[in-house]
């Protein structure tokens, strides 16, 4: 982590370091350094600083006594900083909001632990800090039973057979998948796994799994299967084969820019927008244009605009035929 370190970050660490050792009686230097995410050299510098704490009045004395001889830290005198500082409102909030979100995934195997830890943390945080956490909330589309089955298969290392709906192509597909993990991103749960049909790592949104069968076959995730780095930007990476489609949107069609990641968004005045979307699948874009109606239109590439026109004409022809 390349976070800048200020003197107050360091102070927070120093105040945590004494109780960290006190609550464990003694801790090895390397273990403590790892727990605080610092080098042993930095840790020793911290310990020396703590050891130097001195109060002058009424009589000079050193309230903290510690040693790290032989690579083991022990604290023999800790006085008033033997307990950690209370959680700040946003610290308690960050954990509580996240725990409530995890509880919403609805996996029964975690449900008990989550509600117990939420109660304990609310209690430890105190009323004020816990109140802030109710002012932020992350909703997750519950995939309760499906997520439990997927995680069970992951834990047991079983291959899965999926009937999976692909909205872009409006198709149900059949495939065997060796599950790797469950991702919960942007409020939605995905199975990440090695798709034996595509011979690659793929994501499957749990609410699009039509049917899931746990096969009596061990999962074999090949060594070259690399999980997505969920810390790096978008979940779905554009491919060089993608097409770029430009839309012009009326003020009522601006929701498209909220809904889909856009390559570019340009204000055209009067609330109108021009956006460029990338997609591997022209059928999906045609569907979007049909959905939009008068809220927007494809302005390029021209073949695609023409295809949408033809789609609409064919659909209308059926209504005319039916009423004729």
């Amino acid at each position: 982590m390349s976070r800048h370190t200020t003197s107050s970050d360091r102070l927070a660490r120093l105040l945590a370091l004494v109780p960290y050792v006190v609550s464990r009686d003694s801790v090895a230097l390397d273990e403590a350094a790892a727990a605080f995410g610092i080098t042993e050299k930095q840790l020793i510098d911290d310990l020396n600083l703590l050891w130097c704490v001195e109060l002058r009045a009424p009589d000079p004395y050193c309230p903290i006594d510690l040693s790290y001889e032989g690579g083991e830290i022990t604290v023999s005198e800790a006085e008033s900083i033997a307990r950690p500082l209370r959680l700040k409102a946003d610290e308690a909030g960050a954990l509580l909001v996240a725990l409530r979100m995890l509880a919403e995934i609805g996996d029964p195997r975690d449900r008990d632990a989550l509600s117990r830890v939420i109660a304990k943390l609310e209690n430890a945080a105190g009323e004020g800090a816990a109140a802030v956490s109710s002012q932020m909330s992350v909703q997750v589309d519950s995939a309760g039973e499906m997520s439990a089955r997927v995680r069970d298969a992951i834990a047991r290392g079983r291959r899965l057979h999926l009937t999976y709906y692909v909205p872009g192509r409006d198709e149900n597909t059949e495939r065997d998948v060796d599950p790797m993990r469950l991702l919960v991103v942007d409020g939605q749960a995905y199975l990440e796994g090695w798709c034996r049909r595509a011979e690659g790592v793929r994501l499957f949104r749990l609410d699009r799994i039509v049917e899931l069968t746990v096969l009596d076959v061990p999962a074999e995730v090949p060594a070259e299967a690399r999980p997505r780095d969920v810390r790096a930007g978008r979940l779905f990476h554009p491919s060089p084969d993608d097409i770029e489609v430009a839309f012009e949107l009326t003020p009522a069609g601006r929701w498209v820019a909220d809904h889909y990641p856009c390559e570019s968004v340009e204000e055209l005045g009067e609330g109108r927008l021009r956006v460029v979307l990338r997609t591997p699948d022209p059928r999906w874009v045609r569907g979007l244009a049909l959905r939009l109606g008068d809220q927007g239109r494809i302005v390029g590439p021209p073949e695609l605009a023409e295809a949408v026109r033809a789609d609409a004409a064919r659909a209308l022809a059926q209504y005319e035929a039916a009423s004729a």
Binding site: T6, S7, S8, L11, L14, L15, P19, R24, F36, L49, V53, L55, R56, P63, I64, S80, I81, R83, L85, K88, D90, E91, G93, A94, L95, A98, M101, D112, A113, R116, V117, L121, N123, V132, M136, S137, Y165, D170, V185, G187, Q188, R231, A246, R254, W255, D258, A289, R291, L292, G293, D294, I298, P302, A305, E306, D311, A312, A315, A317, Y319
Partner: protein, 330 residues
């Protein structure tokens, strides 16, 4: 610079230990004498002590200001019961989900807060790690540019002002809001609050906020009314209140899989087609969803839904007229 910050850290640490150790309120002068590292000169000391108090408050150290009866002089102390994290013990399954929770924010605005919390909990003796996997990887993003400013406003309870470009609006308008909370759904963030111009509760999508979010009043001046449930306020109005209605549609055989997942009563209806029933709420909102399937879906009934789909298809046809779609495709 390094030496300076080391001296400052040392001084602040001394100050905390000193104020925790005292039961009596210590005056500034007593503090100056007890804590090493403060200058002798009155003015320089005063400035430094003011900054130090501010830093301790930002760190969450409860600094109590008061005076002893006999002297009446203003003094300071840190009550240990307000300073200390209460005892907390977690079972192994509880520490595992806690580590998972801390990971949720790893690349978001609350990452620092989450690791700060974990640091303190570890210091309380809890063995938790952010690397326990449990086969699940949760992540929440707070990439919206307006998020940090709004979260600060929510936490510190002050009103805000910003330009907002609503869907269907031709221009952004200035909005003044008492923020009650922020909520995320399907990866999108919303602000819930009281709009002081409209004099009503409003929900704002963060992605539609244009430019900076400005503070519009002092901290502590916003009170969230008793019993407000920000999630209900944010999402209930998005849900359709109308009664469920039933539609009869024809689906091309083997196509419109997206609709078939929800359809009931699917039965063959002549060569190449099925009929099915679908439940919907509002024709105007359901029509776009059906239009998306183009020639694979034909609405038979009710007439208002059928007309809404036809209207939509006609406007698609008009919008993609051969003459218009050319030229500006860039």
């Amino acid at each position: 610079m390094v030496a300076l910050s080391r001296r400052k850290t040392e001084r602040l640490l001394n100050l905390v230990v000193c104020l925790l150790a005292t039961r009596r309120y210590l005056t500034a002068e007593q503090i100056r004498r007890a804590v090493p590292g403060y200058p002798d000169s009155g003015e320089a000391f005063k400035r430094m002590f003011e900054r130090d108090k501010e830093e301790l408050r930002e760190l969450g150290v409860p600094l109590e200001v008061g005076s002893e009866e006999e002297t009446g002089e203003i003094g300071y102390r840190i009550p240990p019961q307000d300073y200390e994290l209460p005892e907390i013990h977690l079972t192994p399954d509880e520490t595992a989900v806690l580590g998972l929770a801390a990971r949720v924010w790893r690349r978001a605005a609350l990452a620092e807060a989450a690791s700060g919390a974990l640091l303190k909990l570890r210091a309380a003796g809890i063995e938790t790690s952010e690397t326990d996997s449990l086969g699940i990887e949760p992540r929440v993003d707070t990439e919206e540019p307006a998020f940090p400013a709004l979260w600060e406003a929510v936490k510190n309870r002050y009103p805000v002002a910003f330009d907002y470009q609503g869907v269907g609006r031709t221009a952004a308008t200035r909005r003044h809001v008492r923020p009650w909370g922020v909520v995320s759904r399907r990866g999108r963030w919303y602000l819930v609050g009281y709009d002081t111009d409209r004099q009503d509760t409003r929900v704002f999508r963060l992605s539609r906020i244009v430019g900076e979010v400005a503070a519009d009043g002092p901290p502590g001046s916003v009170t969230v009314p008793e019993g407000v449930d920000i999630r209900r306020l944010a999402f209930e109005r998005m849900e359709t209140p109308a009664e469920a209605r039933s539609a009869t549609v024809r689906l091309r055989a083997g196509a419109a899989q997206g609709l078939r997942r929800w359809a009931t009563d699917v039965r063959p209806d002549g060569p190449g087609w099925d009929t099915a029933r679908l439940s919907f709420h509002e024709a105007e909102r359901f029509a776009p969803y059906l239009a998306r399937f183009g020639a694979d879906v034909v609405v038979l009934d009710p007439p208002d839904l059928r007309d809404a789909v036809i209207q939509r298809l006609k406007s698609v046809l008009a919008g993609h007229d051969r003459g218009e779609a050319r030229g500006d495709a860039g």
